[in-house]
């Protein structure tokens, strides 16, 4: 006698909810969409407008200043290769998406991270949510993005922000909680307000940790932006996608190598920012 437990209509429920959101909040989503699209286009056009050598020089200079000359030279060689492979424009498109997605993710993550650091209750609520966000297969986020924002870069940004935000929140919380208690006590003893403590003590002291989180967020964003080619995001990902569809492994690898170069540059730059060089000798 089999007990007939009806299948829980979890998927239907989620779909219903998403339908409700898309139909009732289409104004909101359309608004977000157009703002984001404008941002993407502006940054993209700006970066495209620069001649290749100029952007190369700027990136190399940044690498040199924040890290060392070796990374600067590496940047020139890597970017030159991308240019030579005629992947410059897709690379810029990918970079644009990564920069914007990271910026949005960090702007959202910081207050959440701070809140989780201050409030134990909020901490216990948000941590499982973050686990959920991080373990959910990345491209699942792509699906609901489409009804909200349609095919294209905005959906890619949306999915990327959600996917890449958790480390920034986690590390912000960790960093702030790691500030030694005696320093907080010292600040308290002198009559610092909560905001003063946060801005002048906790935040600067947790900056290296927060930067480590941002570094991870950037790496996750890059991987997601490439995957987002499946829903029509431009960039290196769509080069790979096209290569797959046309069965041209060579093209695929070229685009893949460009992604690796971009990843390494972004990683090294943010790593270097993490360990600020001692100002005084």
């Amino acid at each position: 006698m089999a007990i007939d437990i009806p299948r829980i209509p979890l998927g239907d429920g989620i779909e219903g909810g998403l339908d409700f959101l898309t139909s009732h909040y289409s104004n909101v989503t359309r608004g977000i969409s157009s703002v984001t699209q404008t941002g993407i286009s502006a940054l993209n056009d700006g970066l495209m407008w620069l001649p290749e050598w100029a952007l190369m020089a700027i990136i190399a200079l940044i690498c040199w200043r924040v890290a060392n000359l070796r990374l600067g030279i590496g940047a020139v060689l890597g970017l030159a290769l991308i240019w030579n492979l005629e992947l410059w424009n897709p690379m810029i498109e990918t970079l644009t998406l990564v920069v914007i997605a990271t910026a949005v993710a960090v702007v959202i993550a910081l207050p959440f991270g701070v809140l989780a650091a201050i409030s134990d209750r909020f901490y216990s609520v948000i941590m499982p949510v973050l686990d959920f966000m991080q373990t959910m297969p990345a491209f699942v986020y792509l699906i609901p993005a489409i009804p909200f924002f349609g095919i294209g870069s905005v959906s890619a940004i949306f999915a990327t922000v959600i996917f890449s935000m958790p480390p920034a929140i986690r590390f912000t919380t960790l960093g702030i909680r790691q500030v030694p208690n005696d320093l907080i006590e010292a600040a308290d003893a002198f009559g610092a307000t909560r905001t003063q403590k946060l801005i002048k003590i906790q935040f600067p002291l947790s900056l290296p940790t927060i930067m480590a989180g941002i570094n991870q967020t950037i790496m996750l964003a890059l991987s997601m932006v490439v995957i987002a080619a499946m829903i029509g995001a431009d960039g290196l990902g769509s080069e790979v996608w096209r290569a797959i569809q046309r069965l041209r492994p060579g093209d695929g690898f070229e685009a893949g190598i460009a992604v690796v170069i971009l990843a390494m540059l972004l990683d090294r730059i943010t790593q270097a920012l993490r360990k600020p060089k001692k100002k005084a000798s």
């Binding site: 030694p180 010292a186 003893a189 002198f190 009559g191 600067p204």
Partner: protein, 402 residues
């Protein structure tokens, strides 16, 4: 306790208690039944950090709070500025009752009245020495120009001019604590709280810092509450000392009071443990006897021995070196003039005498107005040597240097 001068009281602490734990009421109830800390902890799991503390802090004094580890010193000082919330009691500073203040009033109160120096310095590693010293003023919203000036001034006070742009990690421990001191001074609060401020420093630097603090304190007349578990430190810097034990005040008074009239065994042991003069015994200051008289000697022989060695009194011994007494030059001279041939009737017994293990601080009280040297004898009353006043003073001075 009678306070002679009520007007000069800066902080009044009355009935202050602190219970660590979730059921403070229960712990205080037991306390009111006369139970002590260990029993309360066992019965309720609550730690009675402070119990019914009363004291006054006088304007401009340097008050030392002393006690063994765990006696509640830090708890007490942290209750004053409410880094720890007191469980009950009043802390009145300039008419404000601190435990009753709202959060906003508390901030104001901390800014105006308290600055703190910490045992482990607690300097902000991302700020320069200058910025650290400015911190209290920055928090208060003092404009940049005047806070730079005050910070510079206080850094100069503690001898750190020229180090403004360094980071704390570049300084030695002693210098870091000077920054801590400068940070507290620059703030120009009315009370300075120092929790084992010098304990992390090595002994020589610690001495310097104590000296410096005393000078600063005399110069600025800043009310200071200083915590230490070191009696030497307490005695050398404190105007008054409060001794805590298991969260209760066991004695309160001047350093002299505590040293000479310990309130109970606990204080006495504290004092004993640190008083260096007790560690030195008569043995260490004893000198060999330059000359002794024999009981069989005639007055003329004794006179010659005394003049030979420049003595005006001489100890008399028998054949076994057993000490019989002392004779003075005047008596012997008179006997010689009278033609006596024995000194036996001249021997006096009112001379100071001690064993070789007698603690030094006891010896000092033994010198009488005749200033005979102290005779040091063994168990069989044999004369081992003498201790003169100068040697005791010398040893005590030596002890004081530690």
């Amino acid at each position: 306790m009678t306070e002679t001068d009520e007007t000069n009281i800066k902080i009044q602490v009355r009935g202050l208690s602190k219970v660590f734990g979730s059921q403070p009421k229960k712990a205080l109830e037991l306390r009111n039944q006369g139970k002590k800390r260990p029993e309360i902890l066992e019965k309720t799991g609550q730690t009675l950090g402070l119990s019914n503390i009363d004291f006054d802090v006088r304007e401009g004094e340097l008050l030392v709070i002393m006690g063994l580890s765990g006696s509640g010193k830090s708890t007490l000082i942290r209750c004053l500025n409410r880094l720890i919330e007191p469980t009950e009691g009043d802390i009145v500073i300039d008419g404000q009752n601190i435990p009753k203040l709202s959060e906003k009033e508390l901030l104001e109160c901390r800014r105006r009245h308290f600055s703190m120096v910490f045992q482990n310095f607690a300097l902000f590693p991302h700020k320069t020495v200058q910025e650290n010293a400015e911190y209290g003023l920055e928090v208060r919203g003092v404009e940049k120009k005047s806070r730079v000036e005050s910070a510079r001034n206080s850094l100069k006070q503690v001898g750190l001019d020229g180090w403004e742009d360094a980071y704390p990690s570049q300084l030695s421990g002693g210098m870091q604590q000077r920054v801590g001191l400068a940070r507290a001074l620059a703030n120009d609060s009315t009370v300075m709280l120092m929790d084992e401020a010098f304990s992390a420093l090595d002994p020589l630097i610690r001495k310097d810092m104590q000296q410096e603090l005393i000078e600063l304190q005399h110069r600025m007349k800043k009310t200071t509450i200083f915590i230490t578990h070191d009696l030497d430190e307490a005695i050398s810097i404190g105007d008054r000392i409060i001794l805590l034990k298991d969260g209760e005040v066991v004695q309160m008074g001047t350093p002299e009071d505590i040293l000479t009239r310990p309130a109970d065994d606990y204080v006495a042991r504290f004092v004993e443990g640190v008083d260096m003069s007790r560690i030195f015994t008569a043995n260490s200051a004893m000198r060999s006897v330059r000359a002794t008289a024999r009981d069989s000697d005639g007055p003329r022989t004794v006179l010659r021995k005394m003049s030979e060695h420049g003595l005006d009194s001489i100890y008399v011994i028998d054949r076994d070196r057993t000490l019989l007494g002392i004779v003075s030059v005047d008596d012997v001279d008179a006997a010689a003039k009278a033609g006596k041939d024995t000194i036996n009737e001249l021997i006096q017994n009112d001379f100071p005498k001690a064993g070789p293990d007698e603690p030094m601080n006891n010896l000092f009280a033994m010198f009488n107005e005749k200033s005979y040297p102290i005779a040091i004898v063994d168990d069989n009353q044999r004369l081992l040597g003498v201790v003169v006043k100068g040697a005791v003073l010398e040893k005590l001075a030596e002890a004081g240097e530690h």
